[in-house]
């Protein structure tokens, strides 16, 4: 099991999480002609007050995991425990109450904020639906805007009057409204300019310390993930292929895919390297409907052996709190 380091009590535990999307053909009969295994047997846990970063390329299933955790979509199998309570199959009223602890910050604040609502109404909505009265709401909204670095004067404005970074602050204020314990940030800073991105990253880190929040930070940008996370999980075609302490993963990645991914990042200051010493991965992500057998990465792996196309490697111990799914490990 990939979690033998748990200094803090864990807030979230996911076991064998699986999500298969059926592919349907035909307008009427909708026959199922295949499945995409978007998430295929993923386990991890997040200690309270800490951040797990989830990285991978598009289509690896990282966003699906985020959506499964907050129960925006239903799981195919596996379990999700929040603070010891099984929330995998909660429905209706119960799910609604549990969501108070579990919030989501989206990538694009423009499409996740209602353009016809004022900022104060957007931020107050999670409170109003939970029966908080108007006066209490107003006080709380002012408090929240303060917390995310917006002024009270912003409360009466509409989302289009704000820049991308400020909109993301509104999205964060809304997520904080119910005093959640766990927040899923799905590419929360990807659409922002570098200088504004740094502000939001600092804000998220400060809020984590001040409010004791735990994050699942889903992103494709490896340097951003490194900056915010204590633990990192790398995904490839629906599975976690490496997980562990951030420092270990970035300093000595064990899986060939993680190595290639890190080597592909253009580095500031690596002047005129022009790709020297870089492992450029050949080919592209295989078809997720028809993933390769054995280790899904063997088609692009420089170290592939005959065994890799037959036998799927499981997560193996690399060092303390560091696991990788590769036959070369262990």
């Amino acid at each position: 099991m990939p979690h033998d380091l748990a200094p803090a009590p864990e807030i979230l535990r996911v076991e064998n999480l699986t999500k298969h999307f059926p592919i349907r053909r035909g307008a009427v009969l909708q026959r199922v002609t295949g499945t995409v295994k978007a998430v295929d047997g993923v386990s991890f846990s997040v200690p309270a007050g800490r951040t797990l970063g989830l990285v991978g390329e598009s289509g690896c299933g990282k966003s699906t995991i985020g959506r499964l955790l907050v129960r925006l979509i239903d799981v195919t199998s596996g379990s999700i425990h929040l603070d010891g309570a099984d929330i995998t199959h909660l429905k209706g009223e119960e799910l609604f109450r549990r969501r108070q602890d579990l919030q989501f910050v989206f990538q694009d604040p423009m499409s996740s904020l209602n353009p016809r609502m004022r900022v104060e109404d957007i931020v107050a909505e999670p409170l109003l639906v939970r029966g908080t009265d108007g006066v209490a709401c107003r006080t709380r909204v002012a408090e929240l805007l303060d917390l995310v670095g917006l002024s009270r004067g912003h409360a009466r404005r509409f989302p289009h009057e704000f820049s991308g970074g400020q909109r993301q602050r509104i999205g964060i204020a809304r997520a904080l409204a119910t005093n959640p314990r766990f927040i899923v940030c799905d590419e929360a800073v990807s659409a922002l300019d570098v200088s504004v991105q740094a502000q939001i990253l600092n804000l998220l880190k400060r809020l984590q310390v001040d409010l004791g929040l735990s994050y699942l930070f889903v992103a494709h940008d490896l340097s951003v993930v490194k900056h915010v996370s204590q633990e990192v999980a790398v995904m490839y075609l629906g599975r976690i292929i490496e997980i562990g302490d951030r420092r270990r993963i970035y300093a000595s990645p064990a899986h060939p895919y993680t190595q290639a991914l890190l080597s592909a990042v253009p580095r500031v200051g690596a002047v005129s390297r022009k790709g020297a010493g870089r492992q450029v991965l050949a080919g592209e992500l295989p078809d997720p409907i028809n993933p390769p057998g054995g280790c899904a990465f063997h088609t692009r792996c420089a170290h592939a052996m005959p065994r890799c196309s037959v036998e799927r490697p499981e997560l193996e111990h690399v060092s303390k709190g560091h696991h990788a799914a590769c036959h070369l490990v262990g």
Partner: protein, 330 residues
């Protein structure tokens, strides 16, 4: 010394409405030498894309127009060229690729036919011969099985493959200059590495100059020979790439570098630039970076700062550099 391939002099672009004129870029000057790799970095609204569009004579007129300056390509002013000459220029002497290949490709024609069209527009050549050329070009940009892929439609290709097709099309008529506007922004990092390697290889093999427009400092750092940093429609710093990263001279450049979470060292909190980049038309008087600059002084609001030479080939537009005596005074 031979004259540069491209010379932009005092370029000024404005969006005109009946009531007012909004400046988009102002006083932008730079040269591109034969075979050089120039990187233009900046955040949204900095004018980097407008600069690219001006070079190609693609400004969305009649509202947006170049109102001053010259863009000399091999000695001829692009801004004054008649439409016919411009059409021969684009795809002829200048090739271009954009961020989203899907919107630049015709969805109902095979990619082979689209390349044939480009070739036949610029050269007297038979269809079969042009098809041969198309297949050859697809091979040159590393598309596997080019004979078959030439028959494919854009939707049948992945994002990385589509960008390769765009590159094949852009280099079809052996341009002297390739303008790439955020060519890898929509791509995954491993695919981005492949595309950048490809661009640099083509530059070397064909002696073609490349102007790469990006917001990613890492990309610029690794591939560019020289860098232009833009902010609010102006060039704030230009330098050979090694100098820029070793001794960034403009406070904005320094802020930008501090905003990127480093991949190899540990930084607890990012030194983010406060505030937002101003929108075009709402630029402050004097130095446009002044409201966000932590080194600004009252004089910064009064003076229109010009580029000042710091080192040979390295200049920056900051008042603190203009008067070195006072640079470190409180």
């Amino acid at each position: 010394m031979s004259s540069p391939l491209l010379s932009v002099e005092g370029l000024r672009v404005a969006a005109r409405t009946r009531r007012r004129e909004n400046l988009l870029i102002e006083d932008v000057s730079f040269d591109v030498r034969e075979g050089e790799f120039l990187g233009i970095v900046g955040e949204s609204g900095s004018g980097k894309s407008m600069t690219a569009l001006s070079i190609m004579g693609l400004l969305p007129g009649p509202v947006v127009q170049a109102t001053a300056g010259r863009v000399l390509l091999q000695g001829r002013d692009v801004l004054k060229m008649p439409d016919g000459d411009l059409r021969r220029l684009r795809g002829g002497a200048i090739g271009m690729i954009f961020q989203d290949p899907m919107t630049s490709l015709n969805p109902v024609q095979t990619i082979g036919r689209q390349i044939v069209e480009v070739v036949r527009l610029h050269e007297e050549i038979s269809r079969p011969a042009a098809w041969e050329r198309a297949v050859e070009l697809l091979r040159e940009v590393n598309i596997p099985a080019p004979e078959e892929r030439a028959q494919a439609y854009p939707h049948q290709l992945s994002g990385g493959m589509r960008q390769r097709v765009m590159i094949a099309m852009a280099i079809a008529c052996r341009p002297r200059l390739l303008i790439a506007d955020e060519p890898t922004t929509a791509l995954d990092v491993t695919i981005q590495a492949q595309i950048l390697e490809l661009l640099d290889r083509l530059r070397r093999e064909r002696g073609m100059a490349v102007v790469l427009i990006t917001h990613d400092l890492g990309v610029v750092s690794e591939y560019a020979d020289r860098v232009l940093v833009m902010y609010s429609g102006r060039v704030v710093e230009t330098a050979p790439v090694a100098d820029l990263f070793a001794a960034p001279s403009h406070p904005y450049t320094r802020g930008l570098l501090n905003s990127v979470p480093p991949l190899s060292e540990e930084v607890e909190e990012l030194r983010a630039i406060e505030g937002q980049p101003p929108t075009p038309g709402a630029w402050p008087a004097g130095c446009r970076f002044r409201p966000r600059c932590d080194e600004s002084r009252p004089a910064c609001a009064r003076w229109d700062v010009r580029l000042v030479s710091v080192d040979p080939g390295h200049s920056a537009a900051c008042l603190l550099l203009d008067d070195k005596e006072n640079a470190h005074a409180p």
